[in-house]
């Protein structure tokens, strides 16, 4: 039994009776490819690419020695951003959440990082050190976990209390922590820490996760981002270093970071979890874009804003097709 078609289905099933136009999609695609390739090659030849000076631990330790030292103490105390980040690096934090959904926890720990060992102790142990640093390393490695934490957090608190001004830190029972932090700062100043962190993991090293996380714990990377207008709160997602144009198409993603409550990192639950809330909003908006043909009102926008009639105006004129009255 054949299905009875509705008038619309019957109309849609009819063969096209209007005009035909020759169209070679392969030819058009080839021309577009060649034109774009020529444009990209010429522009790359003329303008080059961003050539920003590399950020290094040597640069950090020399330009802001106190901050590097204080960050090293935070790594030892387990109070740095990396040490408290949670998954995928450790289990010391819950990570970002949307309501009861803790997305970072779903992934689990896939790249375990022990901030104290990976950023401070191992690099120091892999180099020839002064007797003072050697003794500090020995004292650290033979102490209990509780004792280590007590030394490092007491020193970290003392540095925080004097707002990072190391010369103002009062004497106290900090164990080997000052010697370790001093040893790493000297190692960084000499350029040895860059090599030591880069060499972790293999002959050909392409994984810079540890370096970037350590940089992120201090002020060096943050200050460089601010100076280059790359901070999220100043549309940084759209920007590039120097005078090069950036990712202008990320304007909508970047937009959310400019308005409350996303601008306030301390506001719960949204501001503190801005990254994941914005990801959800953009996901929903992308779904809306995909579902556009199904959304009443939105799907009839071409009838209200008939740009297609402008593009195919000669066809509409020759066929005498008027705009449908709504």
């Amino acid at each position: 039994m054949s299905k009875v078609l509705s008038p619309k289905e019957e109309f849609d099933a009819k063969p096209w009776a209007g005009k035909l136009r020759k169209y070679d999609i392969l030819k058009e695609g080839t021309i577009a490819l060649v034109v774009v390739a020529l444009l990209v090659t010429s522009l790359a030849f003329i303008f080059g690419s961003p050539d920003e000076k590399s950020l290094t631990f040597k640069g950090w330790a020399i330009s802001n020695s106190d901050n590097f030292y204080a960050t090293t103490v935070q790594e030892l105390a387990g109070t740095s951003g990396t040490a408290t980040y949670g998954r995928p690096y450790n289990t010391n934090g819950d990570g970002l959440n949307v309501g009861p959904l803790f997305l970072q926890k779903w992934a689990g720990v896939t790249q375990r990082i022990n901030a104290a060992n990976d950023f401070v102790i191992e690099p120091l142990m892999n180099q020839v050190q002064s007797p003072e640093v050697k003794a500090a390393l020995s004292q650290w490695s033979t102490a209990t976990e509780t004792q280590r934490t007590k030394w490092a957090t007491t020193y970290d608190d003392a540095i925080t209390k004097v707002e990072g001004k190391l010369s103002a830190v009062p004497n106290g029972d900090y164990g080997p922590v000052p010697a370790l932090a001093n040893g790493l700062t000297e190692m960084a100043k000499a350029g040895a820490l860059d090599a030591a962190l880069l060499s972790q993991g293999g002959f050909f090293q392409t994984d810079s996760t540890k370096q970037i996380l350590f940089f992120g714990d201090g002020a060096y990377l943050d200050d460089a981002g601010t100076a280059a207008n790359l901070q999220g709160g100043t549309w940084g997602m759209m920007n590039e270093t120097g005078r090069y144009p950036g990712q202008a198409w990320l304007w909508l993603y970047s937009f959310w970071y400019q308005i409350p409550p996303f601008t306030n990192e301390d506001s719960h639950p949204i501001g503190a979890n801005a990254d994941v809330y914005i990801m959800v909003i953009m996901g929903l908006m992308s779904l809306g874009l995909i579902a556009m043909p199904l959304i009443p009102g939105i799907r009839s926008l071409p009838m209200r804003i008939p740009i297609h009639r402008g593009i195919w105006r000669s066809y509409y004129q020759s066929e005498g097709i008027k705009r449908r009255k709504r």
Binding site: K19, L20, G48, E240, G242, R243, G246, A248, I307
Partner: protein, 56 residues
């Protein structure tokens, strides 16, 4: 790459700011170029070497 164009491009950018809206001059130029190309694509007539009837 060296040369004056590269030196010019690697200098700190100029930013236009109005309240919480901020945009680099480079991004603004690219956006205006994209919009211009879009408008031109609509306004410029199709090359019309063959009449529509040729295909029939």
């Amino acid at each position: 790459m060296s040369g004056w164009i590269s030196n010019f491009m690697n200098h700190p950018a100029t930013y236009l700011k109005a309240g919480w809206i901020q945009i680099s001059v480079s991004n603004l130029i690219v956006i205006l170029l994209m919009l211009s190309i879009f408008v031109l694509a609509i306004l410029l007539p199709f090359p019309n070497k063959h009449s529509d009837e040729d295909a029939k």
